[in-house]
Symmetry: D2
Subunit: 481 residues, 4 copies
């Protein structure tokens, strides 16, 4: 089959009937018509329509050598630098469609699955490891154009360093039984974004100090697997009106707690389990991080461009472009944006074929970008608030602009070069991006995208090759090293 | 009459029937029953009930020497340092009731009116100035326990430095006619917080480069004066549930654009008009800033205490108190809080009787506090987000906790030392304070409480007495000064 | 005898003949004539002359009830708030004399000794503790107007958290023998400022994870005790010319490594030893920290005033006072200065009599100040560099200004409102304060004055009373605490 | 002749006998033997020796097509991307030789002269412009391997925005006469680094608000032109010992005030004069900025590598690598370094042939780098101080280590993995880099390398193409742009 269109996606998700709990009730009926989900699903559908538009087909899909069908390029295993640029180009198209606001745009996990599959040979011959299952999922995903979410963070009960959970009933999801059919899982994982809105859920464990064998596994299962429940947080859709809520009405993805209530994972869906060392090494040595970061940084750049455009639009709207402190603030966007671009391109320029024959973007520049963005994104939002000032609060609704009080609004809320309606649109966008519950969730999301920023810097320090620089200094000082 | 209770306040406001526009419609019916206003009005009522509670009567009211009635202490003209402490104590009580979340807590503008009245003699004999009208309003306000809002910022059409408005129709409110009855005003002002929810609106102009005589005035008029309209922004009340929205359900104040549609201001309500110099000097030399700041800093301290408590409660809930970076983050709260307290107390210690016989808190320490808080408040919010991490996003609703999915929530969202329900309450509060649209509006509000932070630092630099320090250096260097 | 004058101090120190090593050679001859020390000793002498100036005698000394002699007020045990203000006034006088540049101004350690003595009763009856020796040293110090330095930091060999030294030969000073005469000490301590330039050296241990009994002690011994060596770092005196090096020529204090080469500490000089618990508790519970901080914050305020004066003088000299970013930068000085003042005064306002009858400044505001200053002081220096810009580098010498090239210098280096000579004086001062090796050592010194800033914030977090604030939040949420 | 060696350079500079004033006296005798200059001249000589080393000849020189002689690659006009990489490789070699500490490494101004010459055709046919003179200087410079400094900043008398100098006698250098032989210049310019230590001085004006015709010119003249005087600041050479002062003994460049005392600039040395528009446009449109920045960023990267190496060496020396805050601090170096590298490489990847046939590095990434480095360099220095802590102050001299007190130093100042001598070397380097007067001058120098950081951000904001991003937002909002 290969690449699908938007309608095919929506139909499939509507039929899935996954167990999604929203505001204390299990959702029944079409998920695509639920107020909390219809916006994001329309947006996702638009991405799939885009990939089949004739003018873009070549940039968004490739022809499978096996089936001769078009496949989404996010599934392409790159063999050359040109392939990396192709992948980036595809991801830019989708990111522009979502203004970079959809963190779990399907190309993200497609890239992860592709990275897993490309590195699967690493697991060959290792105990309790089933690389062929990874390969099969990848093949199936391509041929059906499957979408995924993933979940890997244990519940935040106790974050003390030396905490060793002693709860009798599992909290963090673990294997409570193995039988002929597969593994039986009980417990929970935090924060599957778009949980229940994808065909599949990828589940894996990340290494930690006291990780037990029964918590160490990776697998992918359909979202409607019996016993699998998605418990949603409150929705951050502000309402249907794109005038009032230009972002949340389209891009609010929802996050959910994932509960495994005696979920049976069939053996042919298990990637590995109970082999702590193999699992840790696979995550470390596979190309998964490289490709996940490559997609993310691409998306974050498009988002940065959008934010720079918005900031400058506000500057023009209220005519503050002559102030030196405004120059300094806007320069922060420019510096951030160009830095991210340079790092992304360097990761491609310095890419190398790995031992499995995959052209990997170089990890270090991407790691740097992933250390930078969580700091500059909240600052971008703060700057927009600082430039917008009182304009961020004076926010009449669409109804008001079309009511009998409209003439006052048009007169008193006009901008320097904009009508009141235009001006309000600009500021409502700025508000939805930085001050609505949708916007603040984006801040928290970007901040923690690759984990605790504090651990990110430790990881960077520990893995970065510093030896050569120390050696140079020792030689200069004529001391042993 | 003197100090009133909550019911009296509500009845009066319900009968006011001011022209308030909300989401394109003029509000009819009792304002205290409107979903967008009932929470804040209940909260305000609770403040007035508090002042008549026998155990607090002495701390919240004083006996009028004229009428022998109890009057709210925020109206007290201080003559001694003890009076300043009395004023602060009263304001602390109210701030604790609102957790410092209500910026236009009535004591704020009561203090402003008292400051105006105390300094009114400055205007005596000056052209087009009517100090007796200020005095009368003050007397009336005390005897009826009136509540006020104020508005002084022109619409944000064009913030260019050298902009001189050339619109034919007024945008910023101005006098378009004077007649026997009074001044006729047309145009708008930005952002009356609680606009329409108070008995009176105090209107005055702030000095600026191109201020014209017809824009230069001060007066107070009832909120239901004909032609006076309050156009509300979108409401940030998240809903009725105090579980779900512990702050916005109680403390969302609403901001509104104030439109003057040929509003007649009777002569006996005019403080001054058309005398640019007198108006500028009055704002500069009256004690208004001192008392407004004294109230604000008091409120901000109570708010800081609440935030420190919340931050520490999160630390305990997820057991992260052993991390050094947590110590550093919590220390920022402690340092900020203690600094604000020290500055507030210094303003009282260094207070002096002014030329009009009023004991003024010393302005400089309060100015310092007003430069500090707009910077630390957003940082407090950021720190709470950084400590809360994923907990800030996993937010089931009250309904969910009481539904058939509740047992999963209780198991998987429990805290280290807290039940899931307690834990969710803590995080929902943290979210409402820092990430809801209520919370982000609070950030913007505190940031701009006393105007553009950039102008605040220029004002501080320009007014601060630096000469003695320069002189010391010149003497050390033996150079002329 | 009581309070001495400058000449008496110099004579005593010249006769001391302590073992001071400078640039590989032991200093012989009068220490007060050595190029590295004469400036600071002249400055110290000027402090002692000041205290006997008739016009200041009352502000700088008190009359001993025992001997009827004048005693330096830094030795005064305060019993009232007025005594605290007296102490502060005295310390301000000395700090103004040194512009706050002399960290080990004698009043610092006088205050420490006084704090030790005031709290000595705490040690009464505790094993291996000799409170009477503390008392005697204090009495002797007062009657002879002794000066002290102190040393307590072990050498910085290995700062790993779990490091436990295994060197055979002691590195950190420890007791290697006890005999009838006293304790025999071998090893070293870091960084006695003014080591060898004081009558006495106070030595004590600070609590740490693996502190051993033989490293746990406190005593005071004369600087010329046999076996006691002071190994100086390079001198940061830039030269004799006060024009060229206005600060380092007067205020460079020198730091030294203190070596104990089988130093015998007589029993009557031992405060305690080998009682780890008592020693830790004494440091924690004595008033020593309060008084040391009270002196330090007073000095740092005077220094801040001087820096604000200098910054403003540069602004005037090159006429940059109209720039908004200059206002912001200067405001940082003003905010820092006023904050420190408010905290200092709060510590006095909130002072309480302790269990030993001493009026202690409240510790918390002083702790806050000691967390703030290490951060703002380097920033002050940075701001001065940013304002001074190229002027910080164009620095002709005194000789050049008086040479045949002088006319070019006078023409081309003139300031906006200053002659070239005045302008150069201003910038040389700015340079000496922030960019000379004297200036950068001051930065490092203020930054670490009370220890590692990171540990300071942990200490603040751990000791600050947060409970009441947590309780308020729990009540608001109606959850147990 | 082409590329010269170190001895040839030194001989030439010794014979130049430029008028250099140091500490009030004119230098006579060989400049290469003067204590303030011998270190830097030895270092410069080593660069010229390097370029003729057979193993590096190909990487540091190219063969002139005209003369068949080897020419330093910094003079190469790049025609391809490979040429840019060649240029960078050459500059890396020299930067490694100086650890990036020599800002006026000769390749810097060679690149400027090459950029001027490459863009000279721009001036063809413009009034009072002599592109052929630029070309001739460039040819001469190549064939003789000339070295240059430059000077363009007017004296810092009055930096007020609207200041218009009214001094009768010129302060900023200007043309006071034109005659048959050339222009006669009187006045001064600030801060020629290495003034008098180069063959030539390049002088040009930068555009400013009130620039007059008589101040608008560009030319290059020999350093020993009559009437040209270099007035040095105080020397920051700490002494001859490379142990004590590893950097200042080798790399201190000296800055000087340049005085033009009726200096005659022959017509054949004039590039242009009295044509304000042409001069402004030439600086804007020539490739000069691109090549100057390309060299500078290359040097700053090598310097960053050195600083990262040093920081990590300190971490190892005192064994603090396990602390999380150390990871964060070291990560700042890594992030800064990798960002600068990515930007430099992007400038090469995005290079384009300009209208004059020169392959220009893309300006934007280099502009970004030049906005970043002035902020991160001072932070690097601060971090080194924060890691080094007390070790930055305990600094015995070389003589001390070889004296009779040596055994104590060896015992008590040893490092965790280093001998005391090694440890002291490490810390003396850290001190010389960040706390000596040499080090702080480096901070000020890097901070202002491309001018006032505040103006840099305005320039970036004003020139950066933002339109496309604004357009995207307007389309998203469906508003006109």
């Amino acid at each position: 089959m290969g690449a699908i269109n938007g309608k095919e996606l929506i139909d499939r998700l509507d039929q899935l009937n996954a167990e999604i709990w929203f505001d204390g009730e299990r959702i029944t009926g079409k998920i695509s018509e639920h107020p909390a989900f219809k916006g994001i699903l329309e947006t996702k559908a638009s991405l799939y329509d885009l990939q089949l538009e004739p003018r873009l087909l070549n940039e968004l899909t490739f022809i499978s050598p096996d089936t001769n069908e078009p496949i989404g390029i996010s599934y392409l295993q790159p063999k050359t630098k040109e392939d990396l640029v192709k992948r980036r180009t595809m991801m830019e198209h989708w990111a522009r469609q979502t203004k970079g606001m959809v963190g779990r745009s399907p190309d993200y996990l497609n890239s992860v699955i592709m990275g897993f599959a490309s590195s699967a040979p690493f697991l060959k011959g290792k105990e309790k490891c089933f690389p062929e299952n990874i390969h099969n999922i990848y093949e199936t995903a391509m041929s059906k154009d499957l979408t995924f979410t993933h979940t890997f963070v244990p519940p935040q009960v106790n974050r003390s360093l030396f905490n060793y959970s002693s709860s009798k009933e599992p909290i963090s999801a673990k294997v409570i039984e193995q039988n002929e059919q597969g593994l039986v899982i009980k417990g929970a994982r935090l924060l599957a974004t778009q949980g229940g809105l994808t065909d599949e859920v990828l589940v894996f464990s990340t290494p930690s100090l006291f990780l037990q064998e029964d918590e160490s596994f990776a697998f992918s299962i359909p979202s409607n697997t019996p016993g699998l429940k998605f418990i949603c947080r409150e929705s951050f859709v502000g309402g249907d009106s794109a005038f009032n809520h230009p972002l949340s009405s389209r891009f609010e993805e929802m996050d959910s707690l994932v509960v495994f209530d005696h979920v049976l994972v069939p053996w042919n869906r298990v990637f590995y389990y109970g082999n702590i060392e193999a699992s840790a090494n696979f995550l470390l040595k596979s190309s998964f991080h490289c490709f996940a970061l490559h997609q993310t940084v691409t998306r974050q750049i498009v988002k940065s461009e959008f934010m720079l455009g918005l900031a400058q639009l506000i500057v023009e709207t209220i005519n503050v472009g002559e102030y030196q402190h405004i120059h300094e603030k806007l320069s922060e966007f420019i510096i951030g944006l160009e830095t991210m671009k340079a790092l992304l391109e360097k990761s491609e320029q310095d890419s190398k074929l790995d031992e499995f024959g995959t052209m990997r973007p170089h990890l270090i520049p991407l790691q740097i970008a992933s250390n930078i963005f969580p700091k500059i994104y909240p600052r971008y939002c703060e700057i927009i608030q600082l430039i917008g000032a009182s304009g961020m609060v004076t926010l009449p609704t669409e109804k008001a602009i079309n009511s009998s009080i409209a003439s006052d609004i048009h007169q008193y809320l006009q901008g320097s070069t904009k009508t009141a309606e235009e001006r309000i649109k600009v500021f409502r966008l700025a508000w939805d991006l930085t001050m609505s519950s949708f916007g603040t969730r984006q801040i928290q999301y970007e901040r923690y995208f690759f984990g605790d920023p504090i651990r990110l810097s430790s990881a960077l320090y520990n893995t970065y090759p510093k030896e050569q620089y120390v050696k140079t200094v020792c030689e200069f000082l004529d001391i042993k090293h």
